[in-house]
């Protein structure tokens, strides 16, 4: 192939207009693939605006963040696009967390099914703490690297917390329920763990008007470990789900919800940041 031959301006113009015959066109096309100079020259005969328009489309397609699986599911369920984005950012709502959760619960369920009393204790220990962990890892300075700048925004912190908590409950409760179905023993155990789970979630929300969710989560974890632990020592782990205690859980849940309602305006922690 020649390196010194270049297409005449007239040929370029005719080619762009569509007036060059097939052979000239094919010949020019084979040349253009090899010659940067002629490629630059032919550009001067071509309208820029349509090409610029395509570029803006390319730019948008490249830059626009790709919705994650969680986001797509939320949008399919009717959540608005911006809300889905805000929810899916939370660590406990990412696919990796949910996958790990499923594995953990599989293990817990199986140990409850075949592990006798200790297996049951493990399940009762873990079940109500799953949503607690989910909320603790959905919000707050310990889990959100951009927390501080996220405080100085007009978006309602209450709305963000409630949205994410709902998503945590919607994802974790069915998984725990699936594991619960593997648990033998009392029929009510299958669902009665929901009461402490929901009560603790309400406490997490109410306490977030005072302190960081991770702190509350750890506190609740310690309390529950002691409760299940002492019941397990007496070889009756299901005692934590006795009817009188169930009523207490309901009471705690109701009280925490009331406190949350009263203090919801104080959700942005204006006190000490760290």
């Amino acid at each position: 192939m020649s390196t010194t031959w270049h297409a005449a301006d007239d040929l370029l113009a005719r080619y762009v207009r569509g007036d060059a015959d097939a052979l000239q066109g094919a010949s020019l096309e084979q040349h253009l693939v090899q010659c940067a100079d002629c490629r630059a020259r032919i550009a001067t005969y071509i309208d820029a605006p349509p090409l610029d328009l395509v570029w803006t489309r390319i730019q948008e397609q490249v830059q626009a963040p790709v919705p994650t699986l969680v986001e797509r599911v939320l949008i399919r369920l009717g959540v608005s696009e911006p809300d889905a984005l805000l929810v899916a950012v939370a660590p406990s709502l990412r696919a990796s967390w949910l996958f790990g959760l499923a594995i953990t619960l599989g293990f817990v369920g199986l140990s409850a099914a075949y592990g006798g009393s200790r297996g049951l204790a493990l399940f009762l220990l873990v079940a109500p703490l799953i949503p607690v962990a989910g909320v603790a890892f959905a919000y707050g300075p310990d889990v959100d690297p951009a927390y501080e700048v996220g405080v100085a925004v007009p978006y309602s912190a209450a709305r963000l917390l409630l949205l994410r908590t709902s998503a945590v409950l919607a994802t974790s409760l069915p998984l725990v329920l699936a594991a619960a179905l593997l648990v033998p023993a009392l029929s009510w155990t299958v669902v009665s763990w929901l009461l402490p789970a929901l009560a603790f979630t309400a406490v997490m929300l109410a306490a977030s008007t005072w302190t960081r969710p991770t702190v509350t989560g750890v506190g609740l974890g310690i309390v529950w470990v002691c409760a299940v632990g002492s019941a397990a020592i007496d070889d009756n782990p299901a005692a934590v789900l006795d009817p009188p205690l169930l009523l207490i859980y309901v009471a705690i849940g109701v009280a925490a919800t009331a406190v949350l309602h009263l203090r919801i305006r104080r959700l942005t922690p204006l006190r000490s940041l760290s």
């Binding site: 690297p145 700048v149 925004v153 007009p154 978006y155």
Partner: protein, 291 residues
């Protein structure tokens, strides 16, 4: 020319577990760029956080953009017109630069996708990161990450822009272009720029506030602060023991800052840094040496 006071702090005190971070701070800010200078631990970040509505003072009154941010509605109103760049900022895992600024734009109530993406592109162009917007943040340099953080503060062209060490880690050429961005922002908005780099203040700010150990030591114009060093800066052939600070300059002579004139010295034109050193002495010097 009547300038509206956009930020008014009165009697601000902030106590943390026994230490007093801010003590009886009064401050008034107007549109334009005000520098906030001070050594490490002076309380600059605490003050900036209070103005950014991220922290509440222990005592005192805050008035921002004509409102007292005591109710949630007032807070949201103020935050709509505010941009904040914290001293340290992390980013969510796996995000590209564009995705992060987009996320912040959603938090700033840009609900429609197309206008929001246009605005994200606009602020990324302002900080000269349009080309790398599609890269993951973890693949960006420290200076580029700082510029991403600045970009989110510029979303929506805020009336109140609060910047804590915006040029840290940014290389010199980029620093010049960032100064242009901030200078333009200062034409319309109120900018409070906290830094320990006197060159940034000298280049950008009309007014300066010097903070030390939680108290305001100077509040006035940059020229006014520089003027306090007039007649107290000399160039000599040797460092003078009685000088507040002295160092060898590139020309081989020694710059001496202090009240006593060294022998055989020429008076030098004072800079902002000289005035700052004279004002704060040892503590300022320690910070300057460390940085």
């Amino acid at each position: 020319m009547t300038a509206t006071t956009t930020v008014k702090l009165a009697g601000i005190r902030k106590r943390y577990r026994g230490t007093t971070a801010l003590d009886a701070v009064d401050l008034s800010l107007q549109p334009g760029i005000t520098g906030l200078l001070g050594p490490n631990g002076a309380g600059k970040t605490t003050l900036l956080r209070i103005v950014a509505t991220v922290l509440a003072p222990t005592e005192g009154h805050v008035r921002l953009l004509g409102r007292m941010p005591s109710t949630n509605e007032a807070l949201a109103e103020v935050r709509r017109r505010l941009g904040y760049l914290p001293q340290e900022m992390g980013f969510p895992r796996g995000f590209t630069g564009f995705a992060f600024v987009d996320y912040m734009a959603v938090l700033k109530e840009w609900t429609s996708r197309a206008p929001r993406h246009d605005e994200v592109r606009r602020v990324l162009e302002l900080v000269d990161l349009g080309d790398v917007a599609a890269k993951r943040i973890r693949a960006l340099s420290g200076g580029q990450r700082r510029r991403i953080a600045l970009a989110q503060a510029l979303l929506g062209d805020p009336d109140l822009l609060l910047l804590d060490e915006p040029t840290t880690g940014v290389d010199p050429e980029q620093r010049v272009s960032l100064r242009q961005v901030l200078s333009r922002a200062g034409e319309r908005s109120t900018v409070l720029l906290s830094t320990h780099q006197t060159e940034d203040v000298a280049a950008l700010c009309d007014r300066v506030v010097v903070l030390d150990q939680g108290r305001v030591r100077f509040d006035g114009t940059v020229l006014g602060l520089v003027a306090t060093a007039a007649g107290r800066v000399w160039l000599a052939d040797a460092p003078h023991p009685a000088a507040r600070a002295s160092w060898r300059t590139g020309t081989g002579r020694h710059r001496n800052v202090g009240d006593a004139a060294p022998p055989a010295a020429d008076l030098a034109e004072p800079t902002l840094e000289d005035a700052y050193l004279l004002l704060l002495g040892d503590r300022a010097l320690a910070t300057a040496v460390a940085s």
